[in-house]
Structures are given as C-alpha cells and as structure tokens.
Subunit: 290 residues, 2 copies
C-alpha cells in the first residue's frame, strides 16, 4: 500500500482489484468471541492477545472478498494499552496479508484544531490507517487536520444507522437554499467545501435507503460508506441501488457482526469467509456484475 | 474519591472543598513541553514517560486551585500504547495527590450502542475517569451507555469554542416550539431527556458568552463546562456572569494552554501554579466570593 497515491485512487484500485465493495468491520466484542479464542484469557494482556488472534484469523479468512477493513477503536481501546497494541498489530497484519485492502479506522474523531491534529497523527501515523471516521458537529476547522492529508481518507458521519440518528440528523434546518435536513447540510458541506482534496467519504446508514439516494444526489462523486447491513437490518439491495455513483462504483458496504459472528464454533473463520463471500456476491449481483 | 456518590454530589463537593470552579486541561502537546522535560526523549516510550512526568508536575503544582482536571485523550493517544499507559498513570496520580478533584476525560466519544458501551468501559473503568465528554450528533441512544452510569458524568458538546463551531451548531432548526439554533436543541435534549440521572453537563465555549446565557436559561440546573479561556481568548468575566446557576455555582471553567505553558523554563510548574491561582481568584471575584 503506497501512500504516494491519493486516497481516492487507492480506493478505486481496491474496488477494481478485489471486484468487491465489501468492508468487514472489526468489532471484536469480547463476550461474542468464540470460546476457542477466549479460553483462559482473564487479564487485559491475555484478552488483547486473544483479540489480536481473532482479528488475524478474520483478516486471513475474509480478505479475498473485501476492499477494506474497518477496525473499531472502542473494542481495542477498552482493553487499555494492550488493546491499542493489538489494534496496531492488526493494522500491520492487514498490510502484510491483504495489501490491496484499505484500513478505515472507525473512531469518530473531531476536536479543536491543535487536538484534532493529534488525532490525525494517532490515526494515520501511529495506527497507520488509510482513513478515519470523523464527526461533523464541531465544524470544518475541527476536521481540517484530517482533510489536509490528501493521501488519507476522511469519512464524515452524515446519516448514521442507529435508531436515534434522527434526533439531530433529520432536523429541518434553515439554509440559503431553503429548508434541508441536517444530514443534507453535512452532505453539502462535504461536496462543496470539505472535499477539496478529493479524500472525503460520507457515512449513510443502509437502514435508510431513501437517505442514501438523497445523499448520492447531493454528493455525486463522494464515496459512501454504508453501515447497518446484517445485525442492524439494513436493506442491502435498496441501498446499493440508491448509492452507486455514475461510474457504477462509489460504495463501501460495511458488515461487522454478521460476518464476525457467523459462527461461534471452532470453524468461525470459515463461516466468516462464507458470509463475506455471500455479501460480496449479493452486492455484485445488485450492481449487475459477477 | 468514592464512586458510591452520584456524580452531581461529587462535583458539588469538589466545588465546595476547593472553593474553585477551575478545571485545568491536561493537553501535553509535545512541541510545547519544557526542554527540561523533553530532553533526550525520541522513542514513543521515552516521550510517554516525559508526558507522564509533565502531567505529574502540573498536577502537583495546580491541584490546590482546581475542582477538576481534564486530560485530553488525543495528546496521550498520539503516543500509542505507551501514551495510553501515561494517561492511566496520570489519572491514578490525580486520585492519589488530589483526591478532591474530578477527572473529566476529554475524548468526545459517541457511537452506536454496543460500541458506545465499550467507550464507556474505556473511559470509566479502564482509564478510571469521573466523567467523559461526548458528541451529540448521533443522538441519545448513542449516549445511553454513558448516561446510565449515574455515578459518572456525561459532558455533552453543545456550543464549542472553535471558530468553525457556528457552521452546524448555530444553524436554525425547526422545532415544535418554533425555530431554535441547533445548540439550543442539544441543550433542551439534555435538560429534558438525557439528564434523567442528573449526571449531565454541557460544553459551552467562553468565546461566546451570549450563548452561555442562553444555554443557562434552557438548562438551569445543568453544570456548564466552559472551554476557550486563555489561549482561545474567551471572555472570563462575561462567561462566569452568564453561566452561574441560581445557587451561584454550576460552572467548570477550563483553562489548558494558559496554565500548562505559562513558562517554558525549568520553573514551568511554579508558573503554572501561579497562573492557576490567578484564574481561580479571577473566577471567584467574578462570582463575588474570595
């Protein structure tokens, strides 16, 4: 994975090389890990080693079927320093075993400028991710330290997949072009201001395909990261149809739990691979390729 | 510090015991640390030890003058696992040397439910903070795992102190009680829904005293965390006047850089103590006590 290329170019290569829009989210939730992985681990260091082992097994199993991995910071960070070490090890492992795949760190960062700069260092330089998710609530200057890194991706929360997302994101807002919902304002900010380096993507939950279509109309050229497929019950067919860009690409479809926990037995990795392959095949059929 | 007490009760005790509303933000920005602290440190482990040493020296120096410390996650996390260890050590050190002071972890978390639960474990159980800052953009269900911990504080971003805050937070939103700005909607959500356990606080930048007054009117009983004093140029007198609650309390006034970097010489800790004492005295004079 060369950082000499722009993020958008590396994403396009990942889509083409893998013929896949699937992103597998690495959410190693301790209580859901297979018994064969967790057995005997009690101290944080042992738990972190088990989480790293689980992550490696999943990466090996599903990497033929994905364009990206999305490790979720919280599941590693909740194990303390050893967990962060496991996260770093997981990213390095992805580089070695799946050099075609992008690493999207799911951490939903944003803070005032000098602080966001340190979060960008953490995500891109220490953990080594290709992209990081960020929260738009604090405004564009809070995202600037991420946006200015044209070799890395900045995945901006727009319309999230959780039930409470509507509480703020769906509010009607007064704009100089009439009323719009808050998530539509965020999509406009990305399309018209924040994406100057072509390195933005937008998070739009597959739980709301109508919103996927609206965001695609506002931001025709911005990749969309779609969470909510699988455990959260999102509509894959409708979301893919709504989210494709004019080139027939532009989507990163995330699945976490429905792949990671396809089986809790010793064959969990094989079950994850089968689930990942099935999701990739479904996505490809919905976009009219095999 | 006993977690048997409610967060609100512990905050009240901290205010009274210390006769101070000052919170010192621990933002150990590597390039601004005194030469006598950073000399010779190149590897992350050595840098993390230096950051921990700086944090301890600041804690010792300013603890007589503060009700709380606010360590900023990014400045520790950007040093990798060793940095997180330094953060944990710093929190333990505050417990030992300043048992009256609350620890507010500034991490601006929020995610879907099962992920936010892990962030709550990280902040409250692993790092051991009394409170954590959270971002409201994803809605109340994303904050529920924090809110349900009545022994810990949940400090919700409302109107932040950065120049770009207006971009989303000041937008006019349609509500069933007429138009309101987005940050006012957040203040209402806290006052009317999210604060059921009495453990919320709201972040309102001292860079905008008029907004401090508005939020105080919407949420009369909710403590306000005021960032933006010092390096960011906020108006301390106006913000204190605008933010006091009906009992003459209700404020946590954060200062970071103007205390931490009061001097870059070997006497940096003494200079920090003098700055902290001066801020506390100013705040007390503005609230009419000595």
């Amino acid at each position: 994975m060369s950082f000499a290329l722009l993020f958008s170019e590396r994403l396009r290569r990942a889509w083409q090389t893998q013929n896949s829009f699937l992103c597998v989210g690495l959410d190693p939730e301790w209580n859901r890990l297979p018994e064969c992985i967790t057995a005997g681990a009690i101290e944080p260091e042992a738990k972190a080693r088990a989480v790293a082992e689980f992550s490696r097994r999943i990466v090996d199993a599903v990497q033929p079927y994905v364009c990206a991995f999305k490790p979720q910071y919280a599941f590693y960070g909740s194990l303390g320093p050893a967990g962060i070490r496991a996260l770093e090890d997981t990213v390095r492992y992805i580089r070695a075993r799946a050099p075609h795949a992008l690493v999207i760190l799911d951490a939903k960062r944003a803070d005032i400028g000098n602080t966001s700069r340190m979060y960008a260092v953490e995500a891109f330089d220490v953990i080594g991710a290709d992209a990081v998710t960020v929260n738009p609530y604090m405004g564009g200057d809070a995202l600037a330290p991420f946006l200015e890194r044209a070799d890395r991706g900045v995945v901006v929360l727009c319309r999230t997949s959780n039930p409470g997302a509507a509480q703020l994101q769906d509010l009607w807002v007064r704009t100089d072009r009439g009323e719009a919902r808050l998530y539509q304002v965020v999509a406009r900010l990305v399309a018209e201001e924040w994406n100057a380096n072509g390195n933005c993507a937008l998070v739009v939950g597959a739980t709301a395909p109508a919103q996927v279509a609206e965001v695609r109309a506002i931001a025709p050229d911005v990749p969309l990261l779609l969470p909510g497929i699988g455990a959260q019950g999102g509509d894959l067919a409708a979301s893919v149809a709504a989210g494709l860009d004019s080139s027939g690409a532009g989507l990163i479809v995330n699945v976490s739990r429905a792949v990671l926990y396809a089986s809790s037995g010793e064959q969990f990795a094989e079950a994850a691979a089968a689930a990942a392959r099935s999701f990739t095949d479904q996505i490809n059929s919905y976009r009219g390729v095999r």
